[in-house]
């Protein structure tokens, strides 16, 4: 038996005992009117709250709702001490007599989450506790119980017999409490009206009983001020006691209604998912079944390790406490999707999970469709970037050719023309002009060689990735180890791998302040993995700068993937995985 279970059983026994003691106090009282009725209602209220509270506590130990309900029951029995003929016990009864209302109000305000979630709820709860403790003590100090309406035991805490003072203090408590109870009723009505549909079934019966109780008690509190007839006052008192007793049953009825409704909703969802037309949106079906129009679906793409919406756009799941809740949809132990929903549905996690399970198979196929759409979207975006990158590259080539080799050749043409004109009459000048021409030609050749390597290095075409990467490493301004197989790869893969390493090494030299870099090319499981790592500063961002982005597109065009790991202070690893049968 768990310790919680033992504690709850002990509380149950204590509750039974408290009820018996309270009944004995009422029976033995010299001044209690209608002890039979009082005992019957007292036991009904106390035991109903304690019993229902213990059940709720057992079902949801992390929710304070059950404890508050038990608290209402015990506090209600404590109020029976006010039936005692012993002045000390009687005084304790007076002091604790109203405490059950504070617990009840706290309970209603925090139902069903067990938390006071809004500022208004916290303020109303605070008022209830002040009224039933601080103001209650003030009232007890001026209540002449022996000579008032009650003709009860003498109040040992009485400090003044002044009737005016007593009227002011008692009147203050009555009016402020009545106003607070009416505010509380307004709060409950508003909360019910704005609750999501599935929650309404759960809240309805308990809120109804609670709100009627609040109104009736507000009336009894103002009875002295409004001069009700005794008969009416007794009737209202009795009605309030009945509705008070009804509150825990309202909770049980709500629970039952909500379970039946939710069971029905899940069954209906199963049918509707089966009958769904291809155009029928799973989001709409789930939103309808869970009664949450704000519901969103996010499909998990395991390859990309991201969530996407139905249209394939990437979705970030809300953080805990961000006002939205997330329930994962799992099929065969693997995440298929996530349901992003109103936090009020957290009160019934089994319901959301049941709906998720009912929809899991259909969600799996929608996930595949979403994955396809995300892929199309990504392809469209990368195709656009590739076209733009191609245009940029052509512009750069034109500029490099125009500014470099072409200018050298133009100068050479001028030098040769001048030499040609002077070849007979001025051999020295001709030689000087030819020397000048040779220098221009050498510069032009060097620039053309560099340009050609940038377009596609000859060593890569002729000898493959290993020698081409070694040549790249030799030209790098820092020591670079290269580990690459001699096997040839498809030309497109070799080219993408070469330029990825070239760009990564350029970045290492420019930004990383690394002392050493390493390049490796490894074939495994039909993939080639190309990795460039360094011992530099880290903190590189793959999304910043067009160089890596362009490479990622180029690798994605081969169905590959580029990743960058660059924790601050721990170097950078740029890794490309490219399918290569």
């Amino acid at each position: 038996m768990t310790s919680l279970r033992r504690a709850l059983i002990a509380l149950g026994i204590a509750g039974v005992a408290a009820g018996v003691v309270a009944s004995l106090l009422v029976l033995s009282s010299d001044f209690q009117e209608d002890p039979g009725v009082t005992i019957a209602f007292g036991l009904a209220v106390g035991w109903s709250f304690i019993g229902t509270g213990l059940y709720a506590w057992w079902r949801r130990p992390d929710n304070s709702f059950g404890a508050l309900m038990v608290g209402v029951g015990f506090a209600f029995f404590a109020g029976a001490l006010g039936a005692s003929d012993i002045p000390g016990v009687f005084a304790v009864g007076l002091l604790t007599g109203a405490l059950s209302f504070a617990f009840l109000i706290h309970l209603l305000l925090s139902f069903p989450s067990g938390r006071l979630e809004s500022r208004a709820a916290r303020i109303l709860a605070a008022i209830a506790y002040v009224e039933t403790t601080v103001v209650q003590v003030a009232t007890v100090l001026v209540t002449d119980s022996e000579n008032g309406d009650c003709k009860c035991t003498a109040n040992p805490l009485l400090v003044t017999h002044n009737q005016t003072v007593s009227d002011v203090v008692v009147g203050f408590q009555a009016i402020t409490s009545a106003l607070a109870l009416l505010a509380m009723t307004v709060f409950l009505v508003h909360r019910w009206r704005t609750a999501p549909r599935p929650l309404k079934g759960l809240l309805g019966p308990m809120y109804l009983a609670g709100a009627v109780t609040m109104v009736l008690y507000a009336l009894t509190l103002t009875a002295d001020v409004t001069n009700f007839s005794d008969g009416v006052e007794a009737g209202v008192d009795l009605a309030a006691l009945v509705t008070f007793t009804a509150i825990p049953y309202g909770f049980l009825v709500g629970l039952l209604r909500s379970r039946i409704a939710r069971g029905g909703a899940v069954s209906e969802l199963v049918t509707r998912v089966g009958d769904r037309t291809p155009e029928g949106s799973m989001r709409d079906l789930l939103a309808d079944a869970l009664g949450d129009p704000s519901l969103e679906l996010a499909y998990w793409l395991p390859d990309r390790e991201v969530y996407v919406a139905e249209d394939g756009a990437e979705v970030t799941l809300p953080e805990p406490g961000a006002g939205r809740s997330v329930t994962p949809v799992v099929r065969d132990g693997e995440c298929v999707a996530a349901i992003i929903h109103d936090p009020s549905l957290d009160e019934e996690p089994e319901f959301v999970r049941g709906a998720a399970a009912a929809a899991a198979l259909a969600l799996e196929s929608e996930r595949l469709a979403a994955e396809l759409r995300a892929r199309v979207e990504e392809l469209r975006a990368s195709r656009g970037r590739l076209v733009r990158a191609g245009l940029d590259e052509r512009r750069r080539l034109e500029r490099d050719l125009h500014d470099g080799a072409q200018q050298r050749l133009v100068s050479l043409r001028l030098a040769l023309g001048m030499a040609q004109d002077r070849v007979d009459e001025d051999p020295d000048m001709t030689r000087m002009l030819l020397d000048r021409g040779v220098k221009e030609l050498e510069s032009a050749l060097a620039e053309l060689r560099e340009l050609a390597r940038g377009i596609h290095p000859g060593v890569l075409t002729d000898h493959g990735l290993g020698p081409a990467l070694s040549s790249l490493a030799d030209r790098a301004p820092l020591p670079v180890d290269v580990e690459a197989d001699a096997d040839r790869l498809p030309p497109a893969v070799e080219s993408a791998a070469y330029f990825m390493v070239a760009e990564a090494l350029t970045n290492v030299a420019k930004y990383s302040r690394a002392e050493h870099a390493r390049v490796s090319v490894e074939r495994r499981n039909g993939h080639v993995r190309v990795e460039v790592s360094d011992d530099g500063l880290g903190g590189a961002d793959a999304n910043r700068g067009s160089g890596l982005r362009g490479l990622a597109d180029r690798i994605a065009a081969l169905d590959g993937r580029l990743t960058v790991e660059s924790p601050d202070g721990a170097g950078t690893v740029v890794r490309a995985d490219i399918p290569c049968a």
């Binding site: 050298r408 133009v410 100068s411 043409r413 001048m418 000048m429």
Partner: protein
């Protein structure tokens, strides 16, 4: 003949200067872009401004337009691109004419100026 050479490639400016000076002409100044070229030409008032077409900031056509508007010296535009690419633009700019760089010679320049 006096000239100002405007081109963003220093190696070409050197070759051009040498070519003009070997033929007994005087190069009064050089500039690396159109803005500087306009300023230098208006200040030094050569017989001709030999200017490249493609340059950063202010290109050869704008230089020709500005000098024509300011009553500056004659402008001959040069480029490593084909002449036919620039026929209409040259005519509209107010420049005296266009010579492709690979056909450039002092003789061609003098013919154009006369």
């Amino acid at each position: 003949m006096t000239a100002v050479i405007v081109d963003d490639h220093a190696s070409f400016r050197d070759a051009m200067r040498l070519m003009l000076e070997l033929e007994g002409h005087e190069v009064l100044g050089e500039a690396a872009d159109g803005e500087e070229g306009v300023r230098t030409a208006l200040e030094l008032r050569p017989d001709v401004v030999v200017s490249d077409v493609q340059m950063p900031h202010v290109g050869g056509f704008e230089l020709a337009e500005r000098l024509a508007a300011a009553g500056g010296p004659a402008v001959v535009l040069i480029s490593s691109h084909d002449a036919c690419d620039y026929d209409k633009l040259t005519a509209a700019s107010g420049a005296l004419g266009f010579i492709p760089k690979d056909e450039l010679s002092v003789k061609r320049l003098v013919t154009l100026l006369s």
